[in-house]
Each structure stands twice: as structure tokens, then as C-alpha cells.
């Protein structure tokens, strides 16, 4: 559409697009295909945060050529076979809440909207649920809750994301401490491969039957196939929820208190450390005594007796490291505000560059990485806010979640500043032996860091990709490519 600038403009026009459309219509039916510009505009974006500025300026991140809504794995298979014939890209699309541009059709092509894959089958003996991957996370959780069950995967985006998206990015929910990350939750999958073959892995508690092939698809970001079904673990609703909060002055102290707690096999569902800036931002108004302090909140879930014990042991560890108990109010405040996402809407129109970057590291680097990233972000000219919280924890390490915001200095554009902030963060993390992403994925923002992140194993990964997807039709431009970002906005 001539009224829009298009950020990732597809350079190769698909000559046979009419013929492709005709053949695809035969596969899915005329109601389930669109080449309408209005649909292309809608599916030409995800929640890659810089694209909010694009929206305001009337730029489209990209424009896919065709949008499809298949209803069965067989239809998906036929679509993919056809795409191979014409060497046209295929991009799986859940709800477009991914924040790294993963679902953007940067080279044009066919968007496969997965939302018709929305079945739910519960096995309450095995405590598993088999779901269509286009199902919205909150819809699933609501249905399970009705029956006194839960999967417990509660990312902040649960109301606007799908099971397929979680699998594709190895997502993490707020209660990952108990329920695990998506790779801990998924037991087996049905996948349509880039050649159109459909494979299903077996559901078992554990096994020893050679390499775990389906694990390859966890975190594959739509580049190795389309996951159409998944069997996941579920749990009964907890008997009790326990809440605890502590204020610290020293970051190392609170990290130590949490590490010792986890290494003693105490498993809080939620642990969150807010650095001083974020404590002020989130709790400054409600918890007066949090001024100049680091807020740590814990939520425990499970059988009442166990929860009580966990509360007691965790309190002991916090006190040991000079923590000051701050009651349940901070947790209640967190529960009340945890889905209130409005910053981008409120501050976006001020022409700011902002984003969040989550990374992970082992305990022995946890403080060093936090300090190094904050310093490197603030050293980028134009960045005036850099803060962090830690949102997911393991006996072995921690996930840091940084927020930055800024406005370009004289002579620089928004996109350059955005890339500089990202580069500063990721290069610092990799230098400090951290890992480039904990749960948002690599997508466009971090694709170019894949080589450094993986080292020698990246070559193997590239070979696997070339074998599984010989024509590189599945979500090209992600994970395996070096530089696809452009400068101007």
C-alpha cells in the first residue's frame, strides 16, 4: 500500500502468487485464505517493541503475501508441500505477542495462523492435557481452573499468546519456580516438518531410547516446522498460597539468600528481585519503607503444611542476609498489577525508544552481569533509563530482566539507538558468560548473536536446519542469519 513505508520490504516478488493462491484455496477453502491488504497489514506485525514507534509513524514492519487459517495438520502439510514447490516462505503465527520479531514475514510469504488448533483433551489420571497449539494460554488455564486443575504456565502475556508460541520460544511463566519453563511442561508434540511430513513423539514419563528428537523443536522459533499439538503436564489447584516479601540494601545479599533457599530444595513458585530503581517504580507509592531498597517477593503454592515450612525456611534465609520483612502487601500489589501492561501505550507517543531484554546466567556471575549490563546500557548515548529485576530462578542460576529507555541524541535515529542498546546488552552478557536470552527467544533482535551464543554447535544447528528444511522455507531470516536489521525507521 503506497501510503505506508514498509520496514522489511520483500525484495523478491513471488511471480506465481496468483497460481499459488489458487492452489492454496483448494487446500483450505475460500473462507480460510486472504490476500486482502487489511489482513496483510494486521499480520505484518508482532510485538517487537520498536514496531510501536513504526505504528505511530505509519510504517509497517512487513507485509506477508497470503494469510491462511488451516484447520488440520493434514492441511498444514499440504500447504507446506506446495510452499516447497514454489520456494515461498511459511511463517507460523500464534497471537503475535512475541517481542523479538519472530512472527514477522521479513521475506514475505505465507502466514499460517494456528488459531483453529484449539482442542483440549484432559487425562486426569496421568495429569496431562493434550492441546491444539493455537490455543490461547489464558483460555486453557481458565478451562482447567473450572475443573480444579492448572497447567501453571502464566507468562505476563498469557492473555494474548498461544501454546505454539510458548513452545517456539521456550517461554517462561511467572510461576516457573514450581511448574517449570515450557520445556519442562511439554511431554510430547505433533509437528508438521518443513517437507510436509507429520511426526508425533510418544508421551512418556521419562525414557532411554536414543536422542530426544522432539526437544529440537522446543525453541525452534518456527524455523523447523509447525507444532500442531502438544501434551503438557497439569496439576491440581494448590491448597494454599503463601506470600512473603523482604527488603534488602545489598544486591549480593538478596541473591545469596535466594540461592541458599533454592539449593536447600525449597521451591517458591514466584521469586522476584526488583533493583532499587524498579522497587521505586513498582512499589514507591504503595510501600513507603521500600525507599532506596531492593524488594524481593516470594509466592509459594502447594499443600498447606509444606507451604508453611517453605515460608519459615525462606524467611530464615532472608533474615540471615539482613533482609527486613515487608509483609504481604507488596505481593498483593504485584498480583493486582501483574497484567497491567500500559507503559508502551502511555509513553510510546513521546517518541521514546524502549524495550526489555531478559538473559540468564549461573549464580557465580549473577551480580557481575547485573552491574555490567546496567553500566553498558547507561553508557549508550541517549539511554537515560536502565533498570533490572530478576524473575526466574534455579538452583544453578538466575534470569535477569532489564528495561531501558532513551531518545536519540542529535543526528541519530531511533532505530540506531535501539540497536546500540541491544548490542551493548547482549555483547556484555556474552562476555560475562551469560546466555543471550532466557525466554523471549532470538528472533530478529538476537539472530545475529546466534553464532557467538552457540559457538561450535551453531554449525551443527545450521546443518540440521539445512537437512530438515532443504529449501529454507520455514520462517527464513530468523535464527540462522547474521544481519537483517535496517537502519531507518
Amino acid at each position: 500500500m503506497e501510503n505506508f513505508k514498509i520496514h522489511f520490504k520483500n525484495k523478491t516478488e513471488f511471480k506465481d502468487i496468483d497460481k499459488i493462491t489458487e492452489k492454496l484455496t483448494k487446500i483450505v477453502g475460500s473462507e480460510k485464505i486472504s490476500v486482502d491488504m487489511i489482513d496483510k497489514i494486521a499480520y505484518g506485525k508482532d510485538y517487537w517493541l520498536i514496531s510501536n514507534l513504526m505504528t505511530l509513524k505509519g510504517t509497517l514492519p512487513c507485509l506477508p503475501d497470503i494469510i491462511l487459517w488451516p484447520q488440520t495438520a493434514k492441511e498444514v502439510s499440504e500447504i507446506i508441500k506446495l510452499a516447497n514447490n514454489y520456494k515461498i516462505p511459511v511463517i507460523p503465527y500464534g497471537e503475535g505477542s512475541g517481542v523479538v520479531g519472530g512472527a514477522l514475514a521479513v521475506n514475505g510469504g505465507i502466514i499460517i495462523d494456528t488459531k483453529y488448533f484449539d482442542s483440549i483433551e484432559i487425562n486426569s489420571t496421568n495429569m496431562t492435557v493434550t492441546v491444539g497449539t493455537g490455543l490461547n494460554g489464558a483460555v486453557l488455564e481458565r478451562n482447567l481452573n473450572e475443573l480444579g486443575l492448572r497447567m501453571g504456565h502464566i507468562p505476563q502475556s498469557i492473555r494474548t499468546s498461544t501454546i505454539g508460541g510458548y513452545i517456539a520460544h521456550r517461554a517462561a511463566g511467572q510461576f516457573s519456580g514450581i511448574y517449570g519453563k515450557m520445556e519442562d511442561i511439554v511431554l510430547s508434540m505433533e509437528i508438521v516438518l518443513p517437507t510436509g511430513d507429520i511426526i508425533s513423539s510418544k508421551t512418556y514419563p521419562r525414557a532411554s531410547v536414543g536422542p530426544m528428537v522432539d526437544r529440537l523443536f522446543l525453541g525452534s522459533e518456527g524455523t523447523l516446522g509447525i507444532v500442531t499439538k502438544a501434551t503438557c503436564k497439569i496439576w491440581p489447584m494448590p491448597e494454599k498460597q503463601g506470600k512473603l516479601s523482604y527488603l534488602f540494601t545489598d544486591m549480593q545479599h538478596c541473591l545469596d539468600a535466594i540461592r541458599e533457599t533454592l539449593q536447600a530444595r525449597i521451591n517458591p513458585g514466584v521469586i522476584r528481585i526488583y533493583d532499587k530503581k524498579e522497587t521505586e517504580r513498582h512499589f514507591g507509592e504503595t510501600i513507603k519503607e521500600s525507599k532506596d531498597k531492593i524488594m524481593v517477593i516470594f509466592v509459594f503454592e502447594g499443600i498447606e503444611k509444606l507451604v508453611d515450612l517453605e515460608l519459615q525456611i525462606t524467611s530464615g534465609n532472608c533474615k540471615k542476609y539482613n533482609g527486613i520483612a515487608s509483609g504481604e502487601k507488596p505481593i498483593d500489589h504485584w498480583f493486582k498489577t501483574r497484567f497491567k501492561v500500559s507503559e508502551a501505550s502511555e509513553f510510546g507517543p513521546y517518541d521514546q525508544v524502549m524495550d526489555t531484554i531478559e538473559v540468564a546466567c549461573m549464580w557465580d556471575k549473577s551480580k557481575e552481569i547485573y552491574d555490567a549490563v546496567i553500566n553498558s546500557l547507561l553508557s549508550v548515548p541517549g539511554i537515560y533509563l536502565a533498570s533490572g529485576h530478576a524473575s526466574h530462578f534455579y538452583s544453578t542460576g538466575v534470569c535477569w530482566y532489564f528495561t531501558f529507555s532513551g531518545i536519540p541524541k542529535e543526528g541519530k535515529d531511533h532505530f540506531t539507538l535501539y540497536n546500540e542498546a541491544w548490542d551493548a546488552t547482549i555483547s556484555t552478557v556474552l562476555k560475562t558468560e551469560g546466555t543471550a536470552s532466557h525466554h523471549h527467544g532470538m528472533g530478529i533482535n538476537r539472530g545475529k548473536w546466534m553464532q557467538l551464543e552457540h559457538g561450535e554447535e551453531f554449525k551443527l544447528l545450521q546443518k540440521i536446519k539445512a537437512t530438515v528444511d532443504p529449501n529454507n522455507i520455514m520462517n527464513p531470516g530468523k535464527l540462522y542469519l547474521e544481519e537483517i536489521q535496517k537502519k531507518e525507521l
Binding site: M37, D39, W69, E95, R159, Y384
Partner: protein, 422 residues
């Protein structure tokens, strides 16, 4: 400084601004000052709340999981956020106002306010769509398939092909010195006659002097306003005001939440004040039961599931009255639906959706009907003729023909418990 005043409560932000170097601070303030350019349209006479439209367009669709427009269509194009994004592009003149696909997106909404219920910024994408449709009307761009609604108002004062308000109608009742005006809804009078009969039986049982004043009354304007005919709806508001305020009426009784909301809320937003008290039947009946004037004492040994109409549950924030009425009826057992109270789900007929998106509207009705059937109730009960019609249509259109439950209005249950024939 304007920005300091605006954010005086967010101390961290003020501190942040104060700590910035000079260039960053002036850049930040310049960005802040220029923000309004994103909320301004060059289209003449464009009155949509562009600020909310922009906020919604930048949101990650935090209400998507409960938005029937998205759930029933499975099209990201039609999610609340995306509708706003496309509407914003229309306001920015990036997408022409007369683009037929964009226009149909603006009508892909049931005005159920599920989006607003979950919205962190209290925005209703549905209301924004109504504002956009009013812009279409100004530009003569309301889709042709909706023109008949306006034409029928001109022809017979209702949105139906045949006027429900005729001299011959069985509902044409005018008791001298009436203090109650029973403002029968268009859908009630045409499609939910058993409910109207129950209401009339209840009024007679209470010996209330009432009138239905069919000849002078008009449609409340809700269906027209929702699809964009605001000026026609305003004319109707004026006419209804004159009729009602010039009569001896002390109470206007409605059987339809949309009428109630129009007469009470929307009219007064437009500066049109109806003097008498305006009440829905459920409130009226509870009041009479509590005062002891109505004694529903005949057991109704049935299991019911109540469907909360969106307008009551979310629009007016009221979910308890009907349940209190049910609690007064002996024998009645209420089993709640999956999604009830404020979290109720739309019946599929809101916002003229059954006219603009017939197939999806029926699909939505079926989805909701199945949710309501979960406990195999004898009756599915509501307090909105349009919701009730939607479920009746869903039953008719379903391939499943084992429906045993009946669709009823609350008034019918009360009348049954009083042993009234209607």
C-alpha cells in the same frame, strides 16, 4: 512544567527527568510536547478519541483471550487491538476511510465490552468502533446492508420490517391515569412475546395502571447508534423524551437492557433528560417481592442457568438483582455457567453483529449456548430479549437437535411462580 505536573505522583519519573543531562531532558520534553501529533487527524470533522485509539493500537491485545470478536473469528485482524490499529491508520489517512475491508473490520464487534473489562487502561475498543462508525455515517459510508435499519425507522419507527407498534397489537394497552409506562422493546414485541405477556400479566396482577402508548413511542435508537446513525438516534431520543416527559408517567419500565442503557445513560450523555424514573423489570420485580406486594410461592422445581447480558454485567456493573429474584422463588435451583457475572460472554447479537456478521453471530450464539448448557438446565434464563432471541436462533441453526432446555426470561419464571397464565 506541564510534564512535572502530569507525573507528580510518579516520583521516580520526575527524579529520572531531573537526573538527565541537558540534551536528553530537552529531547524528552520535546517528545512529550509533540505527542499530540499522533492524536490529531487531518480529516475534517473527525471526532474519534484518537488518544485512546493510539493507546489501544500500541497495546499487545491484553484482552484478546476473552474478546469474542477474536475468539469466534480466529482472525487477528479483528482483535480489539488490531481494530484500533486499523482505525488509527484510517484516522491518519494511511488507509482510506472508504476501504471496504477496513469498514467491515469496524463492524466486527459485538459491543460486549469484554475488552474494557480486562483493559489496563479502561479503554473499550467497542466504543471506539462505534465512534468510527459514526465517522462513516458522516461520510455516507455506512455499508448498504445497514441502510434498511434507518429506512425502517423512517417507515414505521422501528428497526423491524413490520412495525411492532400498531393499533392492532395485542400489547397496545392504555389504562387511564397510568403512572407506569411499559416501554416494550422492539425485539420483545416481535420475537419474545411470551416475555411481554408475562410482564403484562405481572403488572395486571399487581394492579398497576400502565400504558404501552404504542402510537407515540419510538425505538430507543440503540441499534441505530451502534451502527453509526448517531444523528438519527439523537432525533429518536428527543422524540422519546417529549412523549415521556409530556405524559403523567412516573416510572418507565423496560424489558430490555439496551433500551434501559439508552434511555438512562446515553440520552443523558447527549443532554437529553428523561424525567421519570427508568427501571428494568428485574429491578421492579425484586422491589415488589421485597415489599411483599409480589409473593412468588408456587414452587418452580427446575434447574436454571442464568445468562448475564453484557450491558448489565459490564456496561452497568450489575449482576446480583436477577440472582436475588431467583433466590426468592421456591424450588428453583440456579447452576452457574462457565463465564458468568462480570465475566459473562456475549450472545453474539450485540452491536448489530447479527446483521453485519450473520454467520459468526450464530456461531457465537452456539458457543455461548453450549457454555450455558453445561449443567443440563431445564431453563436457560436471561433478562434481555436479544440474548434470548440469539439462543433461540442458535438452537434452530444448530445441527444438534437434542435441545431440551427452554429459553426463558426472568419475568416468565416469576409469573410461573405466581401461577399466572400468560
Amino acid at each position: 512544567m506541564e510534564i512535572i505536573k502530569k507525573f507528580s505522583k510518579q516520583k521516580w519519573l520526575i527524579k529520572l527527568i531531573m537526573d538527565m543531562d541537558k540534551e536528553d531532558r530537552s529531547n524528552m520534553l520535546a517528545g512529550y510536547k509533540k505527542r499530540k501529533r499522533y492524536y490529531t487527524s487531518n480529516l475534517t470533522d473527525f471526532e474519534v478519541n484518537l488518544k485512546d485509539l493510539a493507546k489501544c493500537a500500541l497495546c499487545p491485545d491484553m484482552c484478546g483471550f476473552d474478546a469474542p470478536c477474536l475468539l469466534v473469528s480466529k482472525k487477528t485482524t479483528l482483535s480489539p487491538q488490531n481494530k484500533s490499529r486499523l482505525a488509527l491508520f484510517m484516522g491518519m489517512e494511511r488507509i482510506p476511510m472508504d476501504n471496504p475491508s477496513a469498514i467491515s473490520v469496524l463492524y466486527s464487534c459485538m459491543n460486549c465490552d469484554a475488552c474494557k473489562h480486562w483493559c489496563p487502561m479502561d479503554i473499550s475498543a467497542g466504543e471506539l468502533m462505534v465512534e468510527m462508525r459514526c465517522e462513516l455515517e458522516k461520510r455516507d459510508l455506512v455499508p448498504e446492508k445497514l441502510h434498511h435499519l434507518k429506512n425502517r425507522i423512517d417507515d414505521n419507527g422501528s428497526v423491524f420490517e413490520k412495525a411492532p407498534y400498531t393499533e392492532e397489537s395485542e400489547f397496545n394497552i392504555d389504562i387511564p391515569n397510568a403512572e407506569v409506562f411499559y416501554y416494550i422493546g422492539c425485539v420483545s414485541a416481535t420475537e419474545r412475546k411470551s416475555m411481554v405477556r408475562a410482564n403484562i400479566a405481572l403488572l395486571n396482577h399487581l394492579k398497576v395502571k400502565f400504558t404501552t402508548k404504542f402510537q407515540d413511542r419510538n425505538c430507543c435508537g440503540s441499534p441505530l447508534y451502534k451502527v453509526g446513525y448517531k444523528s438519527v438516534a439523537k432525533d429518536l431520543a428527543q422524540k422519546n423524551k417529549d412523549t415521556i416527559n409530556n405524559s403523567k408517567t412516573k416510572i418507565v419500565l423496560t424489558d430490555c437492557p439496551a433500551c434501559l442503557n439508552m434511555l438512562k445513560t446515553t440520552y443523558s450523555d447527549w443532554g437529553v433528560k428523561i424525567k421519570p424514573k427508568i427501571m428494568h423489570f428485574k429491578d421492579f420485580l425484586l422491589n415488589k417481592i421485597e415489599k411483599g406486594e409480589l409473593k412468588p410461592d408456587k414452587p418452580v422445581d427446575k434447574v436454571i442457568t442464568y445468562h448475564d447480558p453484557c450491558i448489565f454485567a459490564r456496561g452497568l456493573g450489575e449482576t446480583e438483582i436477577s440472582r436475588e429474584v431467583f433466590a426468592k422463588i421456591p424450588g428453583l435451583e440456579v447452576k452457574e455457567a462457565y463465564l458468568h457475572g462480570e465475566e459473562t460472554r456475549c450472545c453474539g447479537y450485540g452491536g448489530g453483529y447479527h446483521v453485519t456478521n450473520k454467520e459468526l453471530s450464530i456461531k457465537e450464539g452456539l458457543i455461548r449456548l453450549e457454555q450455558l448448557r453445561k449443567h443440563s438446565p431445564d431453563y436457560i434464563v436471561s433478562t434481555c430479549p436479544t440474548c434470548e432471541l440469539s439462543f433461540l436462533e442458535a438452537q434452530k441453526n444448530s445441527k444438534n437437535n437434542n435441545y431440551t432446555e427452554k429459553i426463558k426470561d426472568l419475568s416468565e419464571i416469576v409469573a410461573e411462580s405466581l401461577g399466572l397464565s400468560f
